[in-house]
Amino acid sequence: MLSVNSLNEIQQMILVIIGVLVFASTLFWIMRKIKPGPQVDELVLRTKSWWIMAGIFITAALVHPGISFVAFGFLSFAALRELSSISKNARIEDRSVIFWAYLAIPVQYYIAYMGWFAPFLIFIPVFMFTWIPFLLVLKGHTQDIARSMSVIPTHLMLTVFSISHLAYLLSLPELPGFEVGGRGLLLYVVFLTEMNDVFQFTWGKLLGRRKIIEKISPNKTWEGFIGGLLSTVAAAYFLRFLTPFSAEIALLAGLLIACSGFVGDIIVSAIKRDFGLKDTGTAIKGHGGILDRIDSLAISSPFFFYFVYLLYYVR
C-alpha cells in the first residue's frame, strides 16, 4: 500500500541516488581530465555500473519489488560465470556439476523473495555444500576431485549466497516506526560499500605511504584504509535516515561495512592474482570484470545483513 508518506520516502531516496550519482560522475570526469590513468578509468567504470544498479533499484521501487530479485540473481549469475571461467581449479569434467551450481541461483533468490529465512540460511551452506560433492562423486573422476569439491561450493558462497543477502533485505518484515524498510537498508549498505572503496582509493592517492599487503594489492595503504574507514563511518552517520539505526548503531554499521568491504576486496584480489589476472595490469578482455564490481559487496552484504538481523529481528 502506498500512502503519501511512503511515496515521499521513495521520491526522497530516488533524489538522493540521482544526486549522488551525478556528483560522482562529474567528479570522476573532472579527475580523468586532470589526471588520466587506469585507476580513474576503473572509477568511471564503477560509476557506470552504479547507474545501472540505480536504474534497476528505481524501477523496482516504482514498478515491482520482484525486479530487484531477478536483477540480483543475474548479478550472481554473471559473477559465478566469471569465477568459474577464470578459475584454474575447476576441471573441464566439472561442467555438468557447475551447471547444477547455476541452478542454485533461481532457487536461492526464490527463497529470498518468499522470505523463508531458515531455507535461505541452509540451502547453499548445507544442501548445495553436500549436493555438489555428491554429484562429483557420481561422475567418478577422482583425480583432483577434492579440489573441485571445495572450489565449487566456495564459488557459490562468494557469488550467490553472499549477494542474495542484499535481496533478502527487501523481504525483511517491516519494523514498527520505520517506514523506509528494506529498500533503505539495501541502499545504505550498497552505497556505503561502494563509497568506502572510493574513499579508500582517494585517501590512498592523497596520503598513502605504508602498504598493507603489498603482495596482494599494492595500492592498499594504511592511510587509505583509515581515511576510508573514517569517511565511511561519517557517511554512515549522516545517511542513517535510511535505516532504523540510532546514532551509535550507525557508527558501528559504518565501521563494519568499511572493514568487511576491505576484506572482500582483498580476498577477490588474491583469487585473481592466483589465476594470473592481476599481474597483467588490466584484466583479460572478455572477463567482464563483474567480480571487481562485487568484491567488497560479497563480504559486506552478509555481514551487514546479520548485523541488522541480530540487532532488530532476534527477540
Binding site: 571461467s85 561442467r95 547455476y102 572478455g286
Partner: protein
C-alpha cells in the same frame, strides 16, 4: 521469408542468448556489407557458427553461408533441410568421405555469385580449446579468388560451453574476436594457409 527468420534468430534472439551463456563478440571494425568475403575461424563448438552469424549485417544474412560437412549436417534429409533453413549452410563432402574437388568448385560458384562464406579450416571442432592443423581448402579458394578478402576470427572458450559430443550447455565466459578483412598476400597455397593461421593467432594476443 527465410530472410525474416534468419533476422529473427540471429539479430534478435541470438545476441541475447549469447550474452546469457557468456559469449562476448568484439570486432575491430564492422564486417563489410554487400561484398563477398570469407570468414575464417578456429572451431570448438556449434556456438561458433551461431556467434559469427549474429555478427553478419542484416542485409547479408541470406547470402552468407557457413560451409559444413555433408556427412554431419546432411546425414539425413531432415537435418540438411533444417540446417539450410536455420543456419543457411552450404553442405560439402570432405575429401576422405568421397568428396571430390567438386566441393571447392561448388564453393567457388557461391563466391562468384558474390555470396560470403564462413569456413572453419580445422575441418571439425576437435578437442575442446585445441587448435588443429588447417586443411588446404581455404588456401585453394583464396589463391583462386585473390580479389576476395578473408576475415580472420579467433574464438576462445566456446568449447567449454558446448564441446563436441556434449548436449548440456553450460555458461562460461567465451570470446569471439573478429579481425579486419584482408587480402591474402601470398600466391602459394601453403603460404596462404600459414598467413591465415598467423592472422587468426595474432588476434589471440591483442588486448
Amino acid at each position: 521469408m527465410k530472410h525474416l527468420l534468419l533476422i529473427l534468430i540471429y539479430k534478435l534472439l541470438m545476441p541475447l542468448f549469447l550474452k546469457i551463456i557468456g559469449v562476448k563478440v568484439s570486432s575491430k571494425k564492422p564486417l563489410p556489407t554487400l561484398t563477398p568475403y570469407i570468414i575464417v575461424a578456429n572451431h570448438n563448438s556449434h556456438l561458433d557458427t551461431m556467434a559469427l552469424l549474429s555478427q553478419i549485417p542484416t542485409k547479408d544474412l541470406l547470402r552468407t553461408h557457413p560451409v559444413a560437412a555433408a556427412t554431419y549436417f546432411g546425414r539425413n534429409n531432415w537435418l540438411s533441410i533444417l540446417s539450410n533453413i536455420f543456419v543457411n549452410t552450404l553442405l560439402i563432402k570432405r575429401r576422405e568421405e568421397g568428396g571430390t574437388s567438386d566441393a571447392l568448385e561448388l564453393i567457388s560458384q557461391y563466391l562468384e555469385k558474390r555470396h560470403s562464406l564462413i569456413i572453419f579450416p580445422e575441418g571439425s571442432r576437435g578437442e575442446p580449446e585445441k587448435m588443429q592443423a588447417f586443411r588446404k581448402g581455404i588456401g585453394v579458394l583464396l589463391q583462386k579468388h585473390p580479389h576476395i578478402p578473408y576475415v580472420p576470427v579467433y574464438i576462445q572458450g566456446t568449447g567449454k560451453i558446448l564441446p563436441k559430443g556434449e548436449r548440456l550447455l553450460v555458461p562460461y565466459d567465451a570470446e569471439v574476436r573478429i579481425g579486419e578483412a584482408i587480402h591474402a598476400q601470398s600466391k602459394e597455397i601453403d603460404a596462404i594457409l600459414i598467413e591465415v593461421q598467423d592472422a587468426i593467432l595474432a588476434l589471440k594476443d591483442y588486448k
